[in-house]
């Protein structure tokens, strides 16, 4: 058969000459190569001496590092889709409030975290709500707002990388990070 209606249409796809593209082969902003964030569990207030050996009674180091102190607890956990503080953490948070009140130069970042369920940006909101609940509690106990800062990581920084209820329970948390 004859293709008499064969009409080649020139699709003039321009050969792309991107202005300035010759100079863009390297990543121009290396700002994202970032320093390590301090580990949340490190927990040491500035200059804390943790070398003391537990023996004969008195803890020699910072009370923040004393396993027998309520201050040792720096992660509190939340129920699913909730941001209210569970009763078992009230005493711990009061101890942190007392510590911050007696060390007014000490600052704390409260990190809010979520489990992986649901959408990521909503979880950022939920993580902030958890951090704010802790902040509000500490402020009600007399802590100066200047000592406190909050940041929400949503579900982006799980403490437990698993995908079951046990992992999720460990990930719905607020971390108290002394600066």
């Amino acid at each position: 058969m004859k293709l008499n209606n064969l009409s080649w249409i020139m699709l003039a796809l321009a050969v792309l000459v991107l202005a300035g593209c010759g100079g863009t082969q390297t990543r121009p902003d290396s700002g994202a190569q970032v320093e390590e964030r301090g580990g949340a569990e490190a927990g040491g207030a500035g200059g804390a001496q943790t070398a003391g050996i537990r023996g004969g009674g008195a803890w020699q180091g910072s009370p923040l590092d004393n396993p027998d102190s309520p201050l040792y607890v720096k992660v509190i956990y939340f129920d699913f889709d909730r941001s209210d503080i569970r009763p078992e953490f009230i005493d711990k948070l009061r101890a942190h409030a007392d510590y911050l009140n007696s060390n007014p130069q000490t600052r704390m970042v409260i990190e809010g975290h979520c489990d992986e369920r649901g959408s990521r940006e909503y979880n950022i909101g939920l993580g902030e709500r958890r951090a704010n609940t802790v902040r509000t509690f500490l402020e009600a106990e007399g802590v100066s707002p200047r000592q406190l800062e909050t940041v929400s990581y949503g579900e982006e920084r799980p403490a437990n990388p698993g995908h079951d209820e046990a992992a999720w329970a460990q990930n719905r948390r607020a971390e108290l990070v002394y600066q």
Binding site: M1, L3, N5, L6, S7, W8, I9, M10, L11, A12, L13, A14, V15, L16, V17, L18, A19, G20, C21, T24, Q25, T26, R27, P28, D29, G31, A32, Q33, V34, E36, R37, D81, E116, R117, G118, S119, R120, E121, Y122, I124, G125, L126, E128, R129, N132, T150, V151, S152, Y153, G154, E156, R157, P161, G162, H163
Partner: protein, 433 residues
């Protein structure tokens, strides 16, 4: 002649592993089509590295709308009209046939010619000559597939588009989070930014030249705007609290975003030229995940003002938000279909988080995915498919489902997690015939 941004995503030569796409469920009633390997009309030693016919056939097959004939089953392999004997293709029950050739066209250039035939009528349906370069040959092949798809289905193809997504992998014992951009078929993945801290919520500008995203690289979230082609970037917001969920207006002049600088998360609209901010919602609840209607008049967002996360719609000019979702205890992360009549969103079904489509005309919600933890749905610019994040075992992978739920694909990198896929818009291109 306009410059075509389409074929220039050179980026930084940070070549990373390709995404592989596997069709996990194909549509019944897919159109049988034969795409004959394209001929090469140049010196034998200089055959192009990209096989145009193979790329076209793979695109068409991946859409689920076509069933392609294996090359081994072909009775003849014509590369031009005068070599076609339609009896060969009728015998194989092919409805359509594609033949073509690639030939040298000046230094570093090629000319791609193809013809699409109706086998039963024995007629050409369409045909094009497309000048291109070695670098752009793959993109040209996707463009050929777009033309065939549109000619036979009446709907524009979305093969010559891209996806952006976030990867999370271990490199030398350290966690590396990267924002990557790849062709829609998973090839040519390139890292545009990487960090040891979270990267989130990539959003394309409507011309596909920029991505806005959230980075925690300074220990606090900030919204960045980065030119995809040059890598140049600037910080848009780093207020106290949340800086999240950026979304470009359809005309590219505004960015909707979530800020909690005033105490709790609310939606704001930034005028990108003036960098001015206007609050759109003001409520004690979490208001986040804004997305624009295609006509630019409305913004939908997630809010738990009613007690659980649900989707609300508010005029961009302001006003009282209207609740759109009523089915189920959890609906979030909505975005509009290109037709403006549907939203895709995350909905909780039983204890599972799945991808749904809400019909805005009759408020019906249909669930398209079957995972436990599906999230981040994003429409292809032609509305045919929705790409989303899901889990395969312990790994985060991407999947895509056709809007009618009949075709399903899985997209995976070989190692690490992939999440938060966003399909690019169409790139500016000449479609004059």
């Amino acid at each position: 002649m306009k410059k075509l941004l389409l074929f220039a995503l050179l980026l930084f030569h940070t070549q990373v592993q390709a995404i592989t796409i596997e069709i996990t469920q194909g549509a019944e009633g897919a159109l049988p089509i034969a795409v004959v390997p394209f001929g090469w009309k140049g010196p034998a030693g200089q055959v192009p590295a990209q096989h145009v016919g193979e790329i076209v056939a793979a695109d068409l097959a991946r859409s689920g709308r076509f069933k392609t004939l294996p090359v081994g089953s072909m009775l003849s392999k014509p590369t031009a009209a005068d070599q076609v004997d339609f009896r060969d293709w009728r015998a194989l029950r092919m409805e359509n046939l594609v033949v073509g050739e690639v030939k040298p066209n000046g230094p570093g250039g090629y000319l791609v010619r193809f013809q699409l035939f109706d086998v039963y009528r024995g007629e050409q349906i369409t045909g094009y000559n497309i000048p291109t370069t070695a670098r752009d040959l793959r993109a040209t092949a996707h463009h050929v597939a777009d033309i065939i798809y549109e000619t036979l289905t009446g709907q524009p193809g979305a093969f010559a588009t891209r996806i952006a997504y976030v990867t999370d992998s271990q490199e030398q014992g350290k966690e590396v989070i990267a924002l990557q951009v790849a062709d829609a078929d998973g090839y040519n993945p390139q890292t545009i930014v990487s960090s040891a801290e979270p990267l989130m919520s990539p959003a394309w500008s409507p011309d596909g030249s920029k991505l806005a995203y959230v980075s925690f690289e300074k220990g606090r979230p900030a919204i960045w705007l980065q030119e995809v082609f040059t890598g140049r970037r600037e910080k848009l917001t780093s207020f106290k609290g949340i800086n999240g969920a950026p979304a470009f207006s359809p005309d590219g002049r505004y960015l909707a975003l979530t800020l909690s600088k005033d105490g709790n998360p609310d939606i704001f609209v930034m005028d990108l030229a003036r960098r001015s901010l206007r609050p759109l919602t003001r409520h004690w609840a979490i208001d986040t995940e804004p997305a624009w209607s295609p006509d630019g008049r409305f913004i939908v967002f997630t809010s738990d003002r009613g007690g659980s996360p649900q989707i609300y719609r508010v005029p961009v000019s302001g006003g009282e938000p209207t609740r759109l979702t009523f089915e189920g205890g959890y609906n979030a992360r909505a975005s509009y279909a290109p037709n403006g009549h549907e939203l895709t969103l995350v909905t909780r079904v039983g204890g599972n988080y799945r991808i749904g489509v809400l019909d805005l005309n009759d408020n019906s919600l249909r669930v398209l995915s079957d995972g436990r933890l599906d999230e981040s749905p994003s429409f292809a610019p032609n509305g045919s498919m929705i790409i989303y994040a899901t889990r395969a075992g312990s790994r985060g992978v991407l999947a895509a489902v056709s809007t009618d739920g009949r075709v399903k694909q899985r997209l995976a990198v070989r190692a690490g997690d992939v999440r938060e896929p966003v399909w690019s818009p169409y790139y500016q291109r000449e479609r004059n015939r």
